[in-house]
């Protein structure tokens, strides 16, 4: 399995004007994504977890080219997506597709379901060498609706006539119609009931088996991510604080924030005894980052160094990386000792 997507030190800073009158004031950077690096293996599922405002959607948008990074580079199938010409752009749009949380918001309310699903084909496959006829498009749409288990009669319906789960399946059909190799799924099941959620997650897993698709799934629901993804990145205020094999992270989370997330996760087990409160305080502001580690003000295990030095993401073995002085610190000290004195 080769790498399909690679992010190298990707940043997205927003300029926020604060204080003063319109046009005046100081511009401050809001560091929505602050140096994300990882790669995704072709055909795998990569999960992104983290609380509200941690930069998950911003990162998704950068990968979808709905927004441009202010630093770093994103490579897809070996090509830098920041340097695509018009043809490259058209190519990218057929390879990578998106499904968002709010299906009703992303489906045009004035279009019939058949037209919504056919639209990407109308844009990308009506011209060029692989041109499709109207009849072929219609056949493809019917086939795709069948694959997402929607009855044929909904073809002529408008989005508002469908249930939430049905609308999400329409969004998936539309994303799949160009036969992409990768889907970016931003909270695809968060708005759905338990039973409908199971249907949509099964559908996504069927598509992956059938077409060898790669998924990047963003969610704040750790149970869903744990079920879906093989690799997991945990974000906090624009930074990836822990990344690695999903099952291993679930078994042994290392970063205090990851640990807190798991402790806070409600489980349908009445016999589980919950220990100490998972976290104090509120998630901080990306506009007013604390000095040192961003998580430090909420961390129970913080040491003096944590409020002074921003920890780097370091390899801790077994494909895991963690950005925490507690984890990286002792190991680094040991290494320095062995090397003699450099400092």
């Amino acid at each position: 399995m080769g790498t399909i997507l690679e992010l190298r030190d990707v940043k997205r800073y927003f300029g926020i004007r604060s204080g003063g009158w319109v046009g005046g004031g100081v511009e401050k950077p809001l560091k929505a994504v602050d140096g994300a690096s990882f790669s995704i293996a072709s055909g795998s599922s990569f999960g992104v977890a983290g609380e509200s405002g941690s930069g998950k959607s911003t990162m998704g948008k950068l990968i979808l080219r709905l927004d441009r990074p202010t630093g770093g580079a994103i490579e897809f199938e070996g090509r830098d997506i920041g340097k695509l010409d018009a043809q490259g752009d058209a190519w990218y749009r057929t390879r990578v597709q998106a499904v968002f949380q709010d299906a009703s918001g992303s489906l045009d309310p004035r279009m019939r379901i058949s037209a919504i699903v056919a639209e990407p084909l109308e844009i990308h496959a009506r011209t060029g060498p692989n041109r499709l006829t109207k009849i072929e498009i219609r056949e493809k749409v019917e086939d795709m609706l069948a694959q997402v288990a929607l009855p044929e009669r909904v073809m002529h319906d408008f989005p508002h006539e469908l249930s939430g789960g049905q609308k999400q399946r329409v969004a998936i059909a539309r994303a799949m119609i160009l036969e992409p190799t990768m889907l970016v799924l931003d909270e695809p099941v968060s708005a759905l009931d338990v039973s409908i959620r199971a249907q949509v997650l099964n559908l996504l897993s069927d598509f992956q088996d059938r077409y060898g698709l790669t998924y990047l799934m963003i969610s704040h629901d750790l149970a869903t991510l744990g079920h879906v993804s093989s690799q997991l990145a945990v974000m906090y205020l624009g930074r990836i604080v822990e990344i690695g094999d999903t099952e291993e992270i679930y078994e042994r989370p290392l970063h205090p924030y990851t640990k807190a997330l798991f402790r806070a996760m409600p489980l349908p087990d009445p016999d589980r005894v919950k220990s100490a409160p998972s976290l104090r305080g509120e998630i901080g502001s990306a506009l007013d980052l604390p000095k040192g580690c961003r998580f430090c003000p909420r961390c129970d295990e913080a040491m003096p160094v944590c409020s002074a030095v921003d920890p780097e993401l370091v390899d801790v073995g077994a494909g895991r990386q963690v950005a925490c002085h507690l984890i990286g610190g002792p190991q680094l000290t040991k290494a320095t000792h062995q090397r003699g004195s450099n400092e």
Binding site: E51, S195, A223, G226, L261, P266, P270, D271, E282, I283
Partner: protein, 329 residues
């Protein structure tokens, strides 16, 4: 003679009148709560959870919905027969409420101090301005609002989502209610903030003996917060009992299916259990059991009549013919 329960809902029926027809949103709901009880109300979207709460509080959308039958016994009175004026005194004082959207529950043009102080003023519970200020600060501290003194003159938009939700809780608690009705109070919150909020509710229950009705579709939240659970389907309670009983050995096929459909970490290769079919059309519900078309245990008889809710030998209640016939468990 045994003491009457704190709250007793009997055969509650609330119908919605829409252009397309009548929806029996709440169709014969009954349950009872004791002091200190914490009831989790779960079920699919549209199953009637909010309508049940709003019927108890008599806050139904007018004229779309009307309670057409049943009794809500609270403190020796039937809330459904009270005058609007009497009912206003019950709400916010005897029964607190946290509704789904905190932004709707808070008034954007009044300060935090003003809104949290309102229940005290209504009750005449504060002796003068400084006493009121102290009382407001006290509840803000109870719900863990950081530096409350500095927050008094702020407006809701200056608060984070978690702080707003806790402020709504502060207002609900300012009346020292005997019962708190919370409709999906944590849906818009992050897990760690949600965890703080649920701990707060449990803390307050322990301290004051307040009873709680918590609407959620997260069975994890129920397991953590509640001692009783009611599972709703198409306007009816289909299973009611002790949380441990219901979540570890569900009796009703719908409860069983709900639990099986939950994604569990570390089960990547496995397919999730799927409830087949779609939720019932409440405008034209099946004549028999509403879950029958999706039920893998359905029998011929299930199509004919809706099963009544009955007490099982282990004390819980469930509405299922297959259970009565001894087909399950």
């Amino acid at each position: 003679m045994t003491q009457a329960p704190l709250l007793s809902v009997e055969d509650l029926r609330t119908y919605c009148y829409t252009r397309a027809g009548v929806v029996k949103a709440v169709d014969g709901v009954r349950f009872a709560l004791e002091r200190g009880d914490s009831l989790g109300l779960v079920g699919e979207s549209g199953s009637g959870k909010s309508m049940t709460c709003n019927s108890i509080l008599r806050l139904l959308p007018k004229p779309a919905a009307r309670t057409v039958g049943g009794r809500v016994l609270w403190d020796g009175r039937d809330l459904l027969t009270l005058s609007e004026r009497e009912m206003r005194r019950v709400r916010g004082r005897e029964i607190g409420m946290i509704l789904q959207d905190p932004l709707i529950s808070l008034n954007p043009v009044f300060t935090i101090a003003n809104q949290v102080g309102e229940p005290f003023r209504l009750r005449g519970a504060a002796k003068g301005r400084s006493d009121l200020r102290e009382k407001v600060l006290d509840v803000l501290r109870q719900v863990h609002i950081p530096s409350p003194e500095a927050r008094l003159s702020q407006y809701p938009f200056e608060f984070s989502g978690g702080m707003r939700q806790r402020t709504v809780a502060a207002i609900a608690l300012a009346g020292s209610p005997g019962l708190l009705i919370a409709d999906e109070p944590t849906t818009s919150l992050d897990v760690t903030i949600q965890d703080q909020f649920l701990r707060l509710l449990r803390e307050l229950q322990e301290k004051t003996g307040m009873a709680l009705i918590l609407v959620t579709h997260d069975l994890g939240i129920v397991a953590e917060t509640c001692n009783k659970v009611a599972v709703m389907y198409a306007g009816k309670i289909v299973e009611f009992g002790d949380v441990r009983q219901v979540l570890t050995s569900p009796a009703h096929p719908y409860t069983e299916a709900l639990l099986k459909a939950l994604p569990v970490p570390g089960t990547r290769q496995k397919r999730l259990y799927q409830i087949s079919g779609e939720p019932p059309n409440l405008l034209d519900p099946p004549a028999g059991c509403a879950f029958e078309p999706r039920c893998h245990r359905a029998m011929q008889a299930c199509k004919k009549a809706r099963p009544p809710i009955k007490r099982l030998s282990d004390g819980r209640q469930a509405a299922c013919l297959a259970l009565e016939a001894g087909e399950v468990r």
